[in-house]
Each structure stands twice: as C-alpha cells, then as structure tokens.
Subunit: 478 residues, 4 copies
C-alpha cells in the first residue's frame, strides 16, 4: 500500500502522549510546535505515491521502494532514487525520515534467520510495515551515564534504562527510558533495540521489539521544539518546516505481545541483527544519501551568498567554491560507488558496498562541522546587518528605508535578508546548532563509526600487500 | 570619575531610538530584549568601582584603569588586570565591553600628533571619556557589498555607506549606515570610523568622529535580540544576561560638532590612526584577555561535562581535557608575553608587544570554531535527552519522574539539566551561533588579521637568518 | 602490439642524453642510479602482457587496455582494472607509469576534432602509440618563475621556457626548458604541451608535440636520483626499485616534424585539448587508481606497525586503524562511483564521471600529508632504534646481540628492522620526502584542482535548490 | 669553568665505542659521519665562552648560564638568553644541545631533597657538571615493545630493557638497552633514567644514574648518520653540520659507582624527580626556545622562497606569510609569558611558568608537521627543477647553460639552487624526515604532553568558574 499524506496525518491523531516540558500536546498535527513538521512528513508520503519510480510490485501489491529487497543493481538504484527524492524534498534535514528505519527492517528481512526463534516475527513485521506503509523510527541507545544498575538499586530508584520487567504468555512488559527517538512525534511505530554492544549480564536490556507510538504507558518527552520558536517562515525557514523532533521514550509497564518481539535475553544477538544482516547498511545508505542532499543545499547557498556580496569574483573565494563542489562530489562518488561495487550478500541478494557506506559515514561525521564553518566564513558579518525580523516590512517608513539602504548592486534588500536568514538557519540558529550536534552522532560517536570501518576492512588483503613486498627481498648477501 | 552602575542605567534612558524589526524600544533598561544585558553592563561599572586595583589617579582625579596610558610594565599589568576582571565577570561573552573602545581611544591619546589638525579634539575627547567614565562602542565597517556608489547614484538612491553630506562652521553632517555597533544599545557614545583601508577617492567616507547614542537623526537597528527569546535563565543562562547586542547605525542628517571630529577627508589617515598609535593594540589586547576568560569557562565546562557522564575516567577523554587546558594556557602565555616583551613605543610610553597581540588574535580567530567543536564532541547527545524546558518541574508527577530517571551516579537530574543547558548556550543555541560567527570576525576576517601579522613582522631579521646561513658556505671547490 | 619488458629495456639503449649533475649517463638500464627503476618499468610491460584481461582487440590487433576508447561501462572497468594491476605492482609509487600519458592521448583520440587542422596528426599518433605500445611521458609546465620574456631579452639571455624558434616545411624547431618530465628516463616519448592556461600573447609557447627521448638536441637533467643513494634494498626498499625519476627537459634546436605537432600558435587550444576531450579525465582517473594502490600499502603498513609494538590492542589505536581503512574506502568508493555514474560523452563514447574524478584528485591532494603524518604517529620513535643499516648482520657478535635484544614478543629483530625500514621509506627518507612534495602537485597546485572542480560543477542545479526553496515562502502577511 | 670548543673535541677522543651498522668508529671528531657535527658542538662551547652574558659567577667560579638556579626573573631571562644564542647558532636543529640535560639537572638541584638518600649524589653531580662544563645527554625511555620481561625469560633471552643486574659496595651494575641517546656521540655523559611512569614491579628498571660515554661495557648503536650521506655542504647544508645523531645505548655489565646513582629501586621516585623538581620545566623551556629558533629559519625561508618565484606579490601568499609570522610570534609570546608569570617554586627559587611551558610543548608537537607542510606548499615543484647536485658547475658547458636557463628575474641560478637545496633539507631530505618524526616525540608522544598539561591545570579554578555561574541562578519560581 502507498499511504496518502492525509491518511498519515489522520493516523497521528491516535491519543499519543507527548510532553513539551510540562505541557501535554493533545494533537501533534495542529500544535504550533509540530504542525509544520507533520505536514512535511505527510508531503513525503504524497511525493512517494506520486510516481511509479518510487514503488515496486510484489504479488500484485504495491510497496514503497524502500521496502525493496534488492536482487539486482537496478533494485539498489531504485532504492537510492527514492531516498534521494525524499532527501531532496527535505534538503537532508530529516535524519530519520520514513525511509530510515524501514530500510533497517528491510535489510534484516533479507537475512532473517539470524533472528533464530524470532525469525517469523521479524518477517511478519516487515510484511506489515510495507503493507501498511508504516513510518517507523527507533530508540536504540540507553540514556547517557545510566549504565550502572547497582547505583539505582541501592537507592531504591527505578533503573532508568529500558528493560523487560516481566513476561507472560501474552508477551513482555517493558519499563524505562530509551533515547533518542528522533521523529517519533510524527511516526507510527518505535523500534526499541540496542545498537551499542551490551555486556553479557545485560540480558534484560537486550529486548528488541516494536511498539506503536500510542501504546499505553508510553510517553515521549520532547526536547525544545524549534518550530514553535520560529518567528515566521521568512525568519526561520528551516526550523519552520523541518524540525524532525527528538524525544526520550519513557515506558511505564508497556505491554509488548510476543509477535512484536525480535530479540529477547540475548545480549550478543541484540546487536548482531544489525551487522549480520544488511540492516545497518541499508539504513545508513539512506544516511549517506540524506547528507548528500544537504550538501547540495550547502553548496548552493555558498555560491548564492558569495554572489550576494560580489565576493564570487575574488579568486580565493572561487577556489573555496570549487572546494565546496569537490566535497559535494566526494560524497556523490562514494554513494555511486556503493552500487558499482555492490556486494552479493546475503546469498541471493544485493547489498550496497558496506565499506564505502561506512567510509561515507565517517566522512560525513568528520566533515560536517568544518563545512558549516567554511560557510560561516563566506557569510561574514552580513547576517547581523539584517533587521531583527521581517516585521520591519509592516512599517511603511522603515520599509522604505530598508529597501533603499539594504539593497546592493547584486540583490534587493528583501532578497538579501531572505538569503541570509536561510543561511543563518543552517549555520547559526538553534535549529542549526542541533544539526551541528547531531551530525556528529547520527550514526554514533566517531569512534563507533571508525570501529565499523575497522571491522569491515579486509585486513588480510592489506597485510598481504606489505608481506608480499617484504618477502620480495632479503638481507643482502655479503 | 568612576561611574556607578545605577548612574549608567539612568544615562541609558536618554531618548535613544532603537528598533527591533518594526518595534520601537522606549527604554532599553526595562525592555525584555535588553534589560538583563543593561544590568550586566551596570554590574561591570560597579565591579570597576569596587577596588582601587581597577583605577588610577592622575591630578587627583580617579579614572578607570583602562584609561591609563602606560609608562611602565606595572601600568600595563594594571590595565590587563581590569580587563581580566571585566572579562571574567562576563565570561568573555561581551566583545565590546566598556574597556574595548576606551582602550582604542587611550592608545590614540598616546600618539595624538598623528591626528594632525585634530590632535586637540582627540585629546579632549579622551579627557572627557575618562572624566565622565563613558561607555563608547564603535561602528567602523561599511555595510557589506555597498562599496559601489555609482550604482546607487544611477538609481537615485541614497548611498548606503555613512559619509559627510555637508559641513559648516558648527561641524559636519553625516548620513548613511555603518556596521556593526555591538553594544551600542547599552553605550553612551558611538565612535564612527574606518578600520578597513579606504580607496583614495573615498574622502567623504573618511570621516572619523564620535556621536552620542541619542543624537538626533541616529537610529539603531538591532539584530534579533536573544535575551528576549530566552525562556528562562535556567534554560538559556548566557543569552539571558550576556547578549551584548549588535546594531546597524543609521544616520539621517546627524550633526557632529567640530570638536567631535577626529579625521576628515583623509582616506589614509582614517586608517592610520589605529596602527600608527597604540590604539589598535591597546584595544585588541582587551580582545585577547576577553577570549581568555571565555576559554576558562569552556575548559571548566569541558571538564564538568566529562564528569557528568563519567567519561573523565576514559584515557582518551583525559587527554582531550589536557589539550583543552593546553589551549587555555597557550593564550594565557601569549597574553603574559605581551607584557614581558612590551614595547617602548611611542616614545615615553609602553605598549603591549604588538606581534604577540596580533598572533593571539590570529590564534583566537583560527581556533574558536574547533574548540567549540571539541566541546560538542564531549557533550555527545546528552543535551537532547533533557526535557524541552524547566517547566517540567511545575508538574509534580513529571517532576518526580524526571528526578528519578534523569539522575545518574555522578549528578542529580536538575543539576545535569542545568549543566547541559549551560553548555548548550555556548555550543548550540542561537546565542552560541552568534558567537561562532562573531569570533571569526571580531577583529576582521582572518586575512585581515594575517595582514596585520605580516605588517608587524621583522622580515629583515627573518631574512638575515637565511641569508647568513647561506653565506656561510659556497659551491664546493673541485 | 604488447611489448615485452626486455624489448622495452632494449629500446631505452637509444643514445638518449641524461645528466646527473655533471655526470653523463651512457646507459640508463645499467647505471646504478636507474637500473632498478628501468627493470620495474620492464616488469610492468611483462605484467601487462601476462593476461588477456589487460588488453583488447581491434581489427585483429591486440592493444594494451589503457588505449581502449570506452563505449560501455565494461570498457571503463577494463581500463580501471589494468590501471589497478600496474599501480598495485608498483604500490602507487609511479605517478607517470606507462598508462598515464597513454590515457591522455586515448582520451584525446575520442574527440580529436577539437584539434582542428591537426586532428589527423593526433589520431595517427594515437594509432602509433598503441600499435608500438609506446611509453609516453609529458612535460607540460613552464619552468617556475620564468614567465617574463622581457627580462631575458633585455639581458640577451635565451628565454628559458620552451617555444618554437623556427618552422619550415618539415616541421617546427623548439628550444628551451619544460618541466617536469617524470619518468622520461625510462620512456620512449615525451609529450610537450601546456596544461596551465597561456596568455594570448604566448603563441610561440603554445606548441604541443611529441618527441622521442633520444631526439637530437634534447637532454634530460635529472634531479638527484634516490636509487643511487639507496644503501641496499633492505635499507631502502622503495627507493631501490620505485624511483620514477624527474627531469628537466632541455631542448636545443630540436626538430619536430609536422606529423608530431598537435597544437601550434593557439594559446587557447593548447589548454582546451585536455578538458574539451576526455584526455584529462582518462589520464587522471589513472592518478586516482594509483593513489588508491598506495593507500593500500599505507593501510597495511599502519596495521603491521601497530602490531609490531602491540599497540593494536589499544582502543585509540584501533580507532586510528579504522580511520585509515575508512580513508582507503573513501577513495575506493569515489573511483567505483566514476564508473557507476559514467558520462555519455563525447557522443558515442563513455567517460568516467568527471566531477567524481576531480573530487578524488582534490581529496588526494588535501589528504596525503596528513595521512603520512598519521602513519608517522603510529611509528613513533621505533625507527631510530634500528641500527644504521643491515650491515650489522655481517658481524657475528653484533648480529647475535641484535637478534637477542631487538626482538620483541611480536616480532623477530630482523623482521622489525625490515618493517621499520620499509615504513621509513614511505614517511621519512628522501624518497618519501619527494612523494610528500609530489602528491601536492601531481595534478597541479591545490587551487588548480579546485578550479577544475569549480568548472565542472552544475551551478545551475545547486542554485535551483536554493532558489526553489526560497520561492516556496514569502514575507508574511500581516 | 667555561670549556673551550677545542677542549671538548679533545675530550671526545676518549675511546668511546660507536657503531654505524657493523662499522666501529674510532674517532668521532674525524669520522666523515660525525666530524662536522662535532665541530658544531665545539662551536657552541666557544660561543658560550665568548660573552659574559652567557655565564654567571658563584663563589668566584664562572659557570655556563644554563647551570644558573634562578632566584629572580632576571636570572630566568639570563637562562633564556643563552638558550636562544645556542639555538640560533644551530637554528633549532639540535634538540639535545648541551643546555638541555644540564637544565634538567639544574632544575633537580633546586629541590634535591626529593631524591631522599641520594640527595647528596645529585647535588655533587650538579656541582661537577657545571664545574667541568660537561655535556650531558640522556636515555630515559625503554626500547619500544620490550616491556614484557616474561617473554624474554621464558626464551632464555636477556631482558632488553636496561636494569640493575647486580649491586655491591662499590655501586650497581647495569645491563640492557635504553633509547634514545640523541647527541651521545658528541657528549661527555649519559643520564640514564625513566621519564615514563614505571609499574610498581619494575624496581630493577628504576635505576637513575649517570655514566661517562666511554664507560667500559657501554656501546652506542647509531641510527643512519645523515652527515655521511650529505654530498656536499651546498647540496645538504643542514645535514652537513647539524645532524645531532641518535643512538641506542647498549650496556653490558656497566659498573656505576654509588655516587653516580640518583634513584634506585623506587619506581615512583624514578619519575617524580622530573616533575617534583623544576627539572622537567627547566629542560623543556630549552625545547621551546630551540623550536622558536627553528621557526625563525622556517619563516625566513618561507619568505625568501616566495620571493624567489615572485609569489610574494600574490595576496593569498602574503596572507600565508602573515600566518607564518603569526605562528612564530605565537611561540615567542608563550616563551616570554613563562618569565612574566614565573612561579615562586620551589621555595626560594624561580621557575618558568609550567603551564605555559607545557602548552608550548603541546603547540610545537601539534603544529610542526603542518608548518612544514605549508612550507612545502610554498616551494611547489621548484625543488625538482634543480640539477641533481652542484657538480653541474664543474662542467663549463653545463654550467653556462645552467646559469643562463635557471636564472629568473628574482634570482641568479646558483642562488636559486642554493635556496631550494636549503629548503629541501628542512622539508624533504632524510634529515628533514628525521625532524618531522622527531618533533612529534621530542618530549614524548602527544598524549604524554597532554597529560602533563592535564596534571598541571588548575581544575579547581576552572570548575569554580562553572560552578559559580550555575550557582547564580536557579529553577524559576512558578
């Protein structure tokens, strides 16, 4: 099924519990902190349904292309194409758009035997997700610094990190917190799991399952929502529409029926399901494509900003723009390469080249801050020349002064302000600040990403290069 | 005179014209966008008056130490000491605190003959500033991209950049914009000038003068004020108190009497007054000291944040903290060195070592973004775990949950939230974003700072090192 | 034809004139400064002939695959495969192996109409190159700082930079210097041209032609040859075999027949032939592949060195190794992507994606120094612990001490020394120093590479992203 | 006593055992691998004796100023001044010039009670050093990867790392290796010790003592000596004169009388003697000053190289030169600051500000590679244009061609070659490669230096900044 945007909005009015500080949000589709974000998500659903390129058929049923388990390079290309369309519409500002977790689950469904006794559950869940065109997000990291249960037990406090507190014939009961359910406010389902390795004695935390956002006992604690604080679309065009939201997931005795359980009491498997299936790779290929869309916005802005002040005529600035373009193409090349050197894995399927995907993750994590910093450099002090907000146009005298004094040979006053306000929402606003923080941790801290790269590297091959070379000569004879 | 903080607040209620977008602010000391900032400035005045260490006597009059024209190393140390006290109270977040422009003027008054026919004006102004303990700020950069008068003239538009439009016996009349009067909202006077070299034909723009903030015809166009958007001191502790404000200065036929004119129709002199006197050096020594105070806050935060999650036990994190400490001491050393190797210049006076001062400026400009980025790395995703705002404490049930679940062995829930909100105001909020932009341009773009370093370098000495070495050997004889 | 290595060696004994300082080299295949390098080149020829994968047939003739003008993605892959084989055999240490300039010429032969009246010459030359399996190198940059002919003319000095000094029915006569004919000592032919834009009045310098290395009047002035200074293969394993040599080309009245002339008196065309044909792209795809082979040696060494001291057990070192692997895959991905997103250009042919190729060039130029620096960090002081050279094994007592004291739990003494000597030849020896210098300039200075990236970027597309976004909202209505 | 250079050379002919590979060097003052280095050291002794500024008097005896235990800021300045003179004469290329270890010992002699029962030994040794004007170097690091004695014991191999193997009334007997005795070939004495913390069970290794270089049983194993491989002073001006040499110290039953023992069987004290006395600080202040002298050579070269090609006229290159100057002044400022903020520690004495000293060490370690890389960028390909060596001048015809073709408007051919050869010896030769490796480890790996910075940082003060700020506000009242 290809769900319509309007249908998705309808589904969001399901009694879910979302808090902004002490405020309880009754309807996320109309609340001033979330309504535009919700509309953006709905628009993605409509986009997806707008062209046959974005879906595929299986057994006469139509599914979103991000549920496609690839058998050919063309299948991989089809997946990439939809990720691109979604990312370009949202300018790469939604890290957890509907194609992210869906890709994880799809990848898992290509090697479901890894799940052992829960294999059938995983496959059924995959079927249901694609059939109902569900928007799933995840919460797969324990709350920071809460990894020492003794401390809490000694003080008679609940252990903060989410765990199974009971089980019976119907299923398991979970309680505790999990972070950081980006997008949950706009989603249908939350995948609960563990992306970071667990210690062997963390069996109770090893639960991996899926819960509906409106499950009884589940509450979302939102971080400060930027959409609410955007003064106008003109003043904060990105925060206005593209705040994907982040929330802590708080579970208080949430019941999860067995068919929604995928890992239980197995600390090793809880993590293996991501990397022994194409799950992690399919999911993070989307991350690469998303970042690439953002790069296009950044490069475009860099050029427009340089033009706005005439700086584009300066050789050193041209060189900087050339470097921006090179960076955009660096990532573009790495994404294309993932298809060119796709892996025949697991047997019978195709997976994006994992090493290139992890290399791209590493590149994005390492590069984002300095790319934004280079954009800052281009913007100069131009941003702070602008009036506080666009209300200036409401006063005829001020407006006249503004239009006369702020225009430049390159651009009219309003266009300049519009451009700088947009740039600011990418480099300096709180929305921008969240992105600067987030890009560092979207796929885990940098050492985690480097460890993925270490794990997947063909060390034997690399060593052979050195060993063969050294074997080709010896101590000189006298 | 040492002005009391309360007296300074009184002075700010002088009918000045400040716009936030289309809103006209009637009293900056009470307006929710500025009142806390105004109080911070007042507190600096009270601090300054609180100890004899922060002032000096001349002709039985007491003056703020930043008006001291140094004759000895001890005098320089006295200056530094007051800069430090001011910067530490405001954590280096006020770039244009009352000691910045005052130091420029003091430095100029040490070599006032540079001003030629306006020498007396400059000296009188210096006398008045220190006698009345005035808070001066400056606007010394033309609006971006507005350097082409023909464009405006052809379109019958006013030339945006500030210039003399008329002169008579009483003085000159100026019109146009000048950027970026940081702190002007809280100041008594604005120094109008040109820090960037002018073309020879820009005589009309070469005007350098001082105007009271409430001068008829002068309006301040504020950029978005962050204080107003701070939800509470707890949620935005830095924006709440330390938004120094930035404004465009718009002059519409502002009259400036001759005694307030320092340069007129001399494009070269307009710039020389800064670098042929200790003005630029005295003023930017303050910038170094200010940044150093910020470094102390940053390093303290880095350590507290690492402790909050227990990460400080990890060797790699300890090493990172060691590096933070090294960076703080790098700048500390460069500031101390400016006194140790002080210059006997101009004759009869002492000036901070200019090369070390410019080197420190270069270091600050080059390093700030990456220092903040390293702090981001330490903060991890911890920030987004926190509730949207501290209103969560107003709901008993939520508060109980928060206190139980968000506490860690290292820290209570509220303390954690307080710490992360503070860190966020330095790395991620819009207030933080403005600092990230500003530190790049406080003393001009990086190429400008490097050109200062080029200009002051003893190239003959450097060349001699190479030349003497090369002269010590020759082509080998056969 | 596929030339045998022995035949190539025979061809090098052709009376060419090569100087090392004042020493004239009579036979480059036996001279201690060049003999191993010559053998390495010969081995590449044998490698190339060893498998049908490395050649293709056209009109019943067999050619080296790097002469293949690609019509399909498979053709491109075939080219890449041979570049890889060559680069892996020489560990990416030969920048100008026989496939570099050959690829330029092949690319040109895909759009030869660009050459105008010399089109036929270019095509004939291409035919001859592939038929005779020639090793061509190039000299396409004027001598540094010699771009001001007036200076030389005034002093009655020859203008240093190579130019046409005469022409007649037989052809042109050229005199002057051109830099930097890497590999010329081992090659058959030198392509003379201009990769850097010429000024319109530099018509005489705009000559583009090919000359045999033994052309009368042509001499090669070699830079210091590292092979000669290598004490033994054990002590300098890379310099021993892989010094590709660099030479200034000095022409004194060298006659070039018309059929070897490709551009004459056309300053614009002299440069356009590279970028208006796939020449530059085909040639520099090889550069990318070559660097990638070097990365594999670097990553293998990084891991072996870490193992040699047991440092590979330290988490931070593992993370570093993961990063090395990520960097290797970054480039690998960008190379694969050039095939995946290959261009249908010029009409009827296939070209590697140019933007990804230039992005990879930029990445290599920007990254090499810091990659080597990271390898230095891993090596620590281990290198200087080793005896001065392997002669230590010739003294029984010293050898016994060496073997007893220098062994570690991880590795025997000799193996350790062998490993560190190899690493040193990549990070610290003069051979290494030349590579550190060269990788910065292999494809021109960094600003030149960024300008290529600027030129090829789809600015309209990037601008559209920004413009469409800005067009989607407007000044808010009151 | 102030020793004459000639006397020092005489002392070096003392029967010491030095190996270059299998070759035994009989006289280091005449051997082609070491003679120029020896002369450079002798020249430093003569320099030192040439002016009263470089010495001080105590009890009517004259001592080199680097033995001065400072009581005043002027004393510190006197020390710095001599370090500067030595470093400038050797362009910062000698890391372990005679003032390095002497400064360690001097610092220790300011707080000798730390040595406990060996206090008197240390003080006597200090007296002897300064009286005889001894050149001491040190070997204070165990051989890499040899920290696991069990491995060697199990295999019946000698444990490689130096340790006490026996003791009697006369003293201790030591056997094993210690790295890396830079300068030992030219020194009188080697200080054996442990700069890196030992494990508690490493009591036998905790020996700290001084041995004459010609002690029976002691041999030096030199790394490859660069002086020997320098073709001429013109071609390798730095390697020719300034190769300070590195050697492994191999002890085979070397007897050390008790009066030369400073620590014995105390793993903690073995390290504390450096940091609980000013030893480490005095010694590494010299390192800072030395690096600063090198910076002056680098900056001079950067400028001369830019002038040689006329690149100094390009704005971006000027900016680069400005940055070079800023970096030189950054370090200069940090060194001067160490005197300005000198510490009154230990009681009664003055010590350079330790935090600034460690910050400068960190800066040098972090910056050297990229500074050299920036110089590479300026040099471009100019280096490889030059003939292989200056022998070219011996052939009249080649010489004429060289002088005609290689000259530029900026510089004659020979001068250009001389300049580039000099630059190459700093950025590309094997001598340069050793410096690139060494500057990373002169004061230990970067993590060690950062840990010094961590240890000395005033964390309480930094925390107080944060804590006081956070204490100044609280949860808002409802």
């Amino acid at each position: 099924m290809l769900k319509a945007g309007s249908e998705h909005l309808r589904q969001l009015r399901d009694g879910r519990t979302v808090y902004i500080g002490a405020e309880k949000v009754s309807d996320v589709t109309t609340h001033p902190a979330f309504r535009n974000g919700a509309r953006t998500v709905a628009a993605l659903y409509d986009l997806k349904a707008s062209s046959p390129r974005f879906s595929y058929e299986e057994n006469k049923e139509k599914y979103s292309a991000y549920f496609l388990r690839a058998k050919t390079r063309e299948d991989l290309e089809k997946r990439t194409q939809l990720h691109q369309a979604i990312a370009q519409m949202s300018h790469g500002l939604l890290g957890r758009s509907p194609d992210h977790v869906a890709s994880f689950v799809t990848g898992m469904a290509m090697n479901a035997s890894v799940f052992g006794r829960f294999e059938k559950n995983l496959l059924s869940y995959y079927e249901r997700m694609r059939r109902e065109d569900l928007y799933g997000v995840y919460a797969v990291v324990p709350p920071q610094a809460a990894r020492n249960p003794e401390f809490y037990e000694k003080k008679n406090l609940p252990v903060p990190t989410l765990r199974v507190v009971r089980e019976d014939d119907a299923g398991v009961v979970i309680s505790g917190m999990k972070m950081l359910a980006t997008g949950a406010v706009f989603a249908n389902e939350i995948w609960i799991g563990n992306l970071i390795p667990l210690a062997p004695n963390q069996a109770a935390e090893a639960i991996t399952c899926a819960v509906p956002v409106n499950a009884p006992g589940l509450t979302l604690w939102s971080r400060k929502p930027f959409e609410r604080h955007a003064q106008s679309e003109f003043d904060s065009p990105l925060a206005w529409r593209f705040d994907e939201t982040d929330s802590m997931v708080m579970c208080d005795q949430v019941k999860v029926p067995w068919e929604r359980v995928f890992v239980h009491q197995d600390a090793v498997l809880a993590r293996d399901i991501y990397i022994k299936t194409p799950g992690h790779c399919y999911g993070n290929h989307q991350s690469n494509v998303r970042f690439h869309a953002k790069m296009r916005l950044i490069v475009g802005l860099a050029s427009r900003v340089a033009q706005a002040s005439g700086a584009n005529e300066i050789p050193a600035v041209r060189e900087t723009l050339g470097r921006f373009a090179a960076l955009e193409a660096t990532l573009g090349g790495m994404i294309a390469g993932q298809v060119q050197d796709a892996e025949d894995w697991p047997e019978g399927w195709k997976t994006f080249n994992r090493r290139y995907m992890y290399a791209a993750l590493n590149w994005c994590t390492e590069s984002h801050s300095q790319i934004i910093d280079a954009l800052r450099e281009l913007c100069g002090g131009g941003i702070f020349q602008m009036p506080a907000d666009i209300s200036v146009m409401q006063d005829a005298k001020l407006r006249a002064q503004f239009e006369a004094y702020w225009q430049t040979p390159q651009l009219g006053a309003t266009e300049r302000m519009k451009l700088y306000k947009l740039a600011w929402d990418l480099i300096g606003s709180e929305f921008a600040g969240r992105h600067l923080q987030y890009e560092k941790f979207y796929a885990g801290a940098s050492f985690i990403i480097r460890n993925h790269n270490f794990r997947e590297a063909p060390w034997e091959g690399f060593h052979k290069v050195v060993d063969d070379l050294m074997a080709s000569y010896d101590i000189p004879r006298q």
